[in-house]
């Protein structure tokens, strides 16, 4: 009788354990995992089959050896670097100024940082091209201030860096602003001033180092946006990685798959680094 009771209790325990497994949660999660992982697997699988019946990295080797790949990838990286630096130079002092001296400007500045949502890449590039393909004149006269930016290379470089800065504006500003709030820049500044530091010293040696995490996270996000970007790059005619990848897809099959998978890994590394530095939620950005 006792052993029967023990068996019953054991059975009840197993049942209780099973009842506690959240069936539907697992169902949705596994479904989601399948949806997300299958395309990655398909791309990887395809990219490894360049040589007939052999799983190999031929596609990767071919792709990375292409001189155009190196050229455009390098170009995009340099573009990203310039965008990041220019963004930091523009945004950090502005955010700092607003925190310390001009809180009244906060609302309008935050409104401006929301505008890129309303003006997606395709619209932005439309406007940029139309404005900067004619010379910039003083209104109502014929005096030319600037040749049309779109007609010379450095001009388009300037345009695209500016365009990328606009696209990254919401994230960069929010990141920097939050970083400054967390670190309480006001108190830091007052402490530095009481020790005799001038403005330049304060920004470069006190503020910037303390918002490092925020800067890194904003920089990595900008990097992720810029390297794969296609819309601005192709319409402005710059030799960036995005248009190169697209063109490659018109002529070849395996190399684009290889580069796509590689770019996914690159994005993963960038976002992973962001997680590392901020330890928080992931951020959503990017041109679609």
């Amino acid at each position: 009788m006792a052993s029967e009771k023990i068996r019953k209790v054991a059975a009840m325990n197993i049942l209780a354990r099973i009842r506690r497994i959240p069936f539907w949660s697992w169902f949705w999660f596994i479904l989601g995992a399948l949806y997300f992982l299958l395309p990655l697997y398909a791309t990887l699988n395809f990219s490894l089959r360049m040589e007939r019946d052999v799983i190999g990295f031929k596609a990767y080797i071919r792709a990375f050896e292409d001189p155009d790949f190196l050229k455009t990838f390098l170009y995009s990286n340099v573009l990203a670097l310039f965008t990041i630096i220019a963004s930091i130079i523009l945004i950090v002092p502005t955010a700092y100024w607003i925190r310390l001296r001009l809180p009244e400007a906060r609302r309008i500045v935050e409104f401006i940082t929301l505008l890129p949502f309303v003006v997606p890449a395709i619209i932005l590039v439309f406007g940029l091209i139309r404005i900067y393909s004619s010379p910039i004149k003083i209104p109502f006269t014929d005096i030319k201030l600037l040749q049309p930016l779109t007609t010379f290379e450095v001009g388009t470089d300037i345009l695209i860096v500016a365009g990328y800065m606009v696209l990254g504006l919401p994230y960069m500003y929010r990141s920097v602003d939050t970083g400054m709030r967390t670190v309480d820049v006001r108190t830091l500044t007052e402490a530095a001033q009481s020790l005799g530091a001038g403005w330049f010293t304060i920004i470069v040696r006190v503020i910037l180092p303390n918002i490092r995490a925020a800067l890194l996270s904003g920089a990595l996000l900008t990097f992720a946006i810029v390297v794969g970007e296609v819309t601005l790059a192709s319409f402005l005619g710059v030799p960036a990685f995005g248009p190169y990848l697209f063109l490659l897809g018109q002529h070849r099959a395996y190399e684009p798959a290889a580069l796509s998978f590689a770019s996914f890994l690159l994005t993963w590394v960038a976002m992973g680094l962001i997680q590392l530095f901020t330890g928080g939620q992931g951020q959503a950005a990017g041109t679609h």
Partner: protein
């Protein structure tokens, strides 16, 4: 806000003006590269071929069938992916928060969502071609497992409305997860316990308390998803090569060459897009504020 020792001068008009110097570079940048381009489009949409003011372009937006079709197609895709992405994204976020899956799965999902929501454009299109294209992995899988040839026996085509929608989901689901996970965390455990204590079953709790509290957040996120899909260009172009006539693709064609033979109309199309995006952003912001009130 209190004035600090940094600002020794009083509030005289002269120093008020000086205060704004610090934000001048930012405003200049915004004007040059954000406001002016948008303004150019705005003004252009009200300009006719002779350079005079007209509202004919705007009117024509609503008369030109091809344009209306483009808007309608974009709206349908955006709505479909907003709804589908919203619902499934919510269920995913639910499963790793309230749904009780182990903690590591939650971090994995959140990290992956951060990555996936940025993995759009050309690589995403190629990935889906490799998956569901004519020689795609899943296409072959379905043929082998179920004997069904996707492209011959069904209406399915990756380079169509449903194909593009399915592709868009890849960044819509994660966006929803990233927004809803914190919102679901905001559901206090005590609410469920209080409801249970007062006699409610789990279903009653969800219907009467949890879902109503989450509703502004859910709706707001779906609106954001809508805007997100509406403004997308690169993925669609890379996937369908411009064959699918959504509004962003039409605008792209217009930029390359004045296919409409009416620049003003092109600008009007762009402005129409901006209006839709603005409405979506306003809707999202308003709902976000309401949800913050409850999920403090």
């Amino acid at each position: 806000m209190a004035q600090t020792a940094l600002n020794k001068k009083g509030s005289s008009p002269a120093s008020d003006w000086k205060k704004w110097i610090g934000v001048f570079p930012f405003f200049l940048f915004a004007i040059l590269f954000l406001v002016l381009p948008s303004l150019r489009l705005f003004v252009g949409s009200f300009t006719n071929a002779e350079g005079q003011f007209t509202i004919a372009n705007i009117l024509q937006l609503f008369q030109e069938q091809s344009i209306l079709d483009a808007y309608w197609l974009s709206i349908r895709i955006s709505a479909a992916t907003a709804l589908g992405g919203g619902i499934f994204g919510f269920l995913l976020a639910y499963s790793v928060t309230v749904g009780g899956l182990p903690k590591p799965l939650r971090s994995a999902l959140i990290t992956f969502s951060g990555v996936a929501s940025n993995f759009a454009g050309v690589p995403l299109a190629f990935a889906f071609i490799a998956t569901l294209g004519r020689t795609g992995f899943v296409t072959a899988l379905i043929k082998n497992l179920f004997g069904v040839n996707l492209y011959q026996q069904t209406d399915f085509d990756l380079y169509s409305f449903w194909g593009l929608s399915l592709t868009y989901m890849y960044f819509q689901f994660p966006l929803m997860v990233l927004i809803m996970a914190p919102a679901l965390d905001g559901l206090k455990r005590e609410w469920r316990e209080a409801a249970e204590n007062l006699g409610a079953s789990t279903t009653q709790y969800w219907l009467r308390v949890a879902l109503p509290v989450l509703l502004p957040s859910i709706l707001g996120s779906m609106i954001l998803l809508f805007g997100n899909a509406f403004g997308a260009y690169a993925t669609a172009y890379a996937l369908t090569g411009g064959r699918l006539g959504i509004i962003t693709i039409q605008i792209g064609a217009q930029i390359r060459g004045d296919v409409l033979h009416n620049p003003g109309l092109g600008y009007a199309m762009a402005m129409g897009m901006v209006v839709v995006m603005a409405i979506s952003l306003i809707g999202y912001s308003w709902l976000q504020k309401r949800s913050e009130r409850w999920l403090r």
